[in-house]
Subunit: 384 residues, 2 copies
C-alpha cells in the first residue's frame, strides 16, 4: 500500500460538555488538527461515530461536520463499527488516500453522550451487541463483559484485585493529560471498594463515558518528506468476530484482535517486541488483559501479570494507556479510536511530558467494537 503520514492531530477535553454541541466538539478537534498541520483545509472528511442517531437525533454527520468545519462541499461520510468507529473511520480514510482518489483526509471521531439520562445511554450502548440474541435478553454491555471477566478469573485463577494495576496505571497517567476526563490517582483499596456494576466488574474496572472528539490529518507520505512532525502509518488492519459473545468457541480469545494485529505486524515487518507504546482498548480491565495476550505481550491467561509486575507503566516493558486509556482519559465511544491514534502520535512526537515513553519509535493502537466483534489495529512509526 502507498505510504501514508499523519501530519496533524487535535482533540478536545473529554467531559460532560453540556454547553457544546456534537458538531462544535467535532469542529474543535478538526480545526486543532488542521492548525497543528499548518493547513486550512483537506479534500475529504471521514467521521467515526456510533451514537448520534440515538442520542442526538442526528445522522449524516459527514455533511454536517464538513460544513461547520469550513469544508463545505468536500466529500464526507460517517463510518460506524460500535466502539471501533474511530479506528474504522481512520482505516477508511487511509484507504481513500492510498487509492489515489483523495489527496488529503481529515478523520474525526466524535461522541456526545452526556446530554441524555444514564439508562438511555445504557440502552444505546447495547446496540453494539446482537439486538436479537443478546439485547432482547436484557443483558447490558457491561453485563456481557462481566461474563467474560468471570470466566477468565475462573479459568486462570486470578482474583479481582489482580486487575487493579490496569486501572491504577491509567489513572496515574491521566493526571498528566489535560484532555483526560478523570485525573485523580486511585489505590488498590479504592479499586476493591468501589461500587459494583455487574459482578465482578465494579466502577473502577469500567471506563467512564463522556463527550469528546479527536482528529488527525492524513496525506501521502511522499508529499511531506520534509515535515519533521510527520508520523508514518506502517500497519493497518481490521477483522471481525461473531457479534454475540455466546457464539464464540473461545470467548477469552479475541480472534479479531489476533488477526488484525498479526496482519499489522506483518505489514510493518515487526513483532510485539518492537512496540514501544500500546494504546489498547481498556473499556473494562478484563479487555486490557485479553488484548495484551492476543497481541503477543503475554501468554494466554497471563495478561494481568504484566500489570502486577509493573510492566505497563511508561517506564515498563510495554507501556499502555499512557494518556489515561479508556479508563481515565475517558471513553466517548465512537471517538475513542481516534483518541488512541492521536495519543500514539503524541508519544512518537515526544510530546507526553511526565508520561513520555523514552525514545518511543513505534506505537500501536487497537480499537475494539462490541465485545470483540470489530477490531482495528494500527501501527505507527516516528519520522526519524
Amino acid at each position: 500500500m502507498r505510504s501514508i503520514a499523519i501530519i496533524g492531530i487535535g482533540q478536545t477535553k473529554i467531559d460532560e460538555h453540556w454547553d457544546i454541541s456534537l458538531r462544535d466538539l467535532a469542529v474543535e478537534a478538526v480545526l486543532a488538527a488542521l492548525h497543528d498541520a499548518g493547513r486550512d483545509s483537506a479534500e475529504a472528511l471521514f467521521v467515526g461515530n456510533m451514537l448520534s442517531p440515538l442520542l442526538s437525533g442526528q445522522n449524516q454527520l459527514g455533511a454536517l461536520i464538513a460544513d461547520w468545519a469550513g469544508l463545505r462541499g468536500a466529500e464526507a461520510v460517517k463510518v460506524e463499527a460500535a466502539c471501533a468507529s474511530g479506528g474504522a473511520a481512520f482505516r477508511a480514510g487511509l484507504m481513500a488516500v492510498a487509492s489515489g482518489e483523495v489527496g488529503s483526509v481529515l478523520v474525526v471521531g466524535v461522541e456526545k453522550m452526556t446530554d441524555m439520562a444514564g439508562h438511555d445511554v445504557t440502552a444505546a450502548l447495547a446496540t453494539a451487541a446482537d439486538a436479537d440474541y443478546e439485547g432482547k435478553q436484557g443483558v447490558s454491555f457491561v453485563g456481557l463483559n462481566a461474563l467474560v471477566m468471570r470466566r477468565y478469573m475462573h479459568e486462570y485463577g486470578w482474583k479481582h484485585a489482580d486487575f487493579a494495576p490496569f486501572s491504577i496505571n491509567a489513572h496515574a497517567n491521566a493526571v498528566h493529560n489535560p484532555y483526560a476526563r478523570l485525573r485523580d490517582l486511585i489505590t488498590v483499596e479504592q479499586f476493591e471498594k468501589s461500587s459494583m456494576v455487574a459482578t465482578p466488574i465494579n466502577l473502577l474496572d469500567a471506563s467512564p463515558i463522556g463527550d469528546g472528539a479527536a482528529a488527525a490529518l492524513i496525506v501521502p507520505a511522499e508529499s511531506v518528506t520534509r515535515n519533521e512532525k510527520r508520523v508514518l502509518v506502517v500497519g493497518c488492519a481490521s477483522a471481525t468476530d461473531t457479534i454475540a459473545v455466546h457464539s464464540r468457541r473461545e470467548p477469552l480469545f479475541l480472534n479479531a484482535a489476533y488477526a488484525s494485529a498479526k496482519q499489522a505486524y506483518s505489514q510493518a515487518g515487526i513483532g510485539p517486541e518492537n512496540i514501544d507504546v500500546f494504546e489498547l482498548h481498556d473499556a473494562f480491565s478484563i479487555m486490557a488483559a485479553l488484548s495484551l495476550e492476543v497481541c503477543g505481550f503475554a501468554e494466554r491467561g497471563q495478561g494481568v501479570r504484566l500489570g502486577l509486575d509493573n510492566e505497563i507503566s511508561p517506564k515498563g516493558r510495554i507501556p499502555v494507556c499512557t494518556r489515561g486509556g479508556l479508563k481515565a482519559r475517558g471513553h466517548p465511544v465512537g471517538a475513542t479510536g481516534m483518541y488512541q491514534i492521536v495519543e500514539v502520535v503524541q508519544q512518537l512526537r515526544a510530546e507526553c511530558g511526565a508520561t513520555q515513553v523514552d525514545g518511543a519509535r513505534i506505537g500501536m493502537a487497537q480499537n475494539i467494537g462490541g465485545s470483540g466483534a470489530t477490531i482495528v489495529t494500527h501501527i505507527f512509526k516516528r519520522n526519524s
Copy 2:
C-alpha cells in the same frame, strides 16, 4: 485510480418483510451476489445503512452481517450518509479495493423500515436533516422537499401535474421488475387526485419506504479480464452541501450533485450525452427534475420538460428509473444506492426485459442523502 469491476449482483424484493429480519435480508442479497459471481466468499464487507440503530436497536452491522453471510472474521464496517448510505458504502468499498488493501469487497445496502409505526419512521428519517436547526423546528423530511418543490414551481411556472410523467414512468417500469414494491400502472388523473402529504407533494410524488437489501461484489478489473459479466466502474465521486436547506444560496441547485457528476464525467472521459441510462434519486418527483438539470440533461428549471416530452422512458433520450426508481421500486433508504447500482448493472448486462434500454453501454447512478447534502455519483461501462 486502479480499474475496478462489478462481477456479481444480488437483491431482495422490496416489501413489508415482517417475517424476515434485517440480517436475513442483507444475507439474502449478499449470497445472491456471490452466487451471481460464482464465488463463495470475499475479503471484506461494506454495509450501507441509515436507520438500524433507530428502528432495529442494532449497530455494528458490519460484524453482524459478515458473520451471518458466512464471512466470519472478514473485515467489515458500516458506512452512513443518510439516504446516500448505499452509494457511499460502494464508494468506500471501491477505494478499499483500489488501495490494494483488500482483494475483493462485498457491498450491501440494507434497510428494515416497516416493523415500526409510521410516526417513528418519520422521526427517524428526520435525522437526515439538521437536528438542531431543522428537526427541532418540527419540519419533516417530506416537508423540506415540499418547500423546495413549491419554490421550483414558483420560480419556473410549472403546475403540479407537470411532474406526473416522472411517477407514471417509474410505475410503468416497475411493473416489469419482480423486485419492485409497487407494480401497478398509474395515470395523470390518479397522480393529481392522490392524498396530499405536504403541499405540493402528494402520495404519488413521494417514494414508498420498504424493507430490502441489494449487493454487489467488486474486484480489481485486471483479475477478471475473461469474465463476460463484468461491468467496469469508470467514474466515482462524492460531494456534500450544507445539511440544512435554508443555508443554501440556491436551494434549487444541487451543488453536490453537480460537483460529483462533473468529477465522475471527467474520470470517465465522457459527458451527459454519452449516458445511456440514468438511475436517479427520485425520492420525490422534484428531486428527479433537479438531478436531471444539474447533471446536464436539461437547462435549469426545465427538468420536468424531459418527462413531458417522453424522453425519460426506456426508449427515450435519457431513460431514468428503468426498474421503477425510488418511486415504484421503493426506497429502503440506506439500501437505495445499492439498488440503483445493481439496476444499472442489469441494464449494461442487458437483463431488463421489457424495460431494457437498447444497446445500453454506459450507465450512471446518483444517490442523494438528505435534501441534497451528500451525493454520490457512479458511472459504469459494459464489458464489451
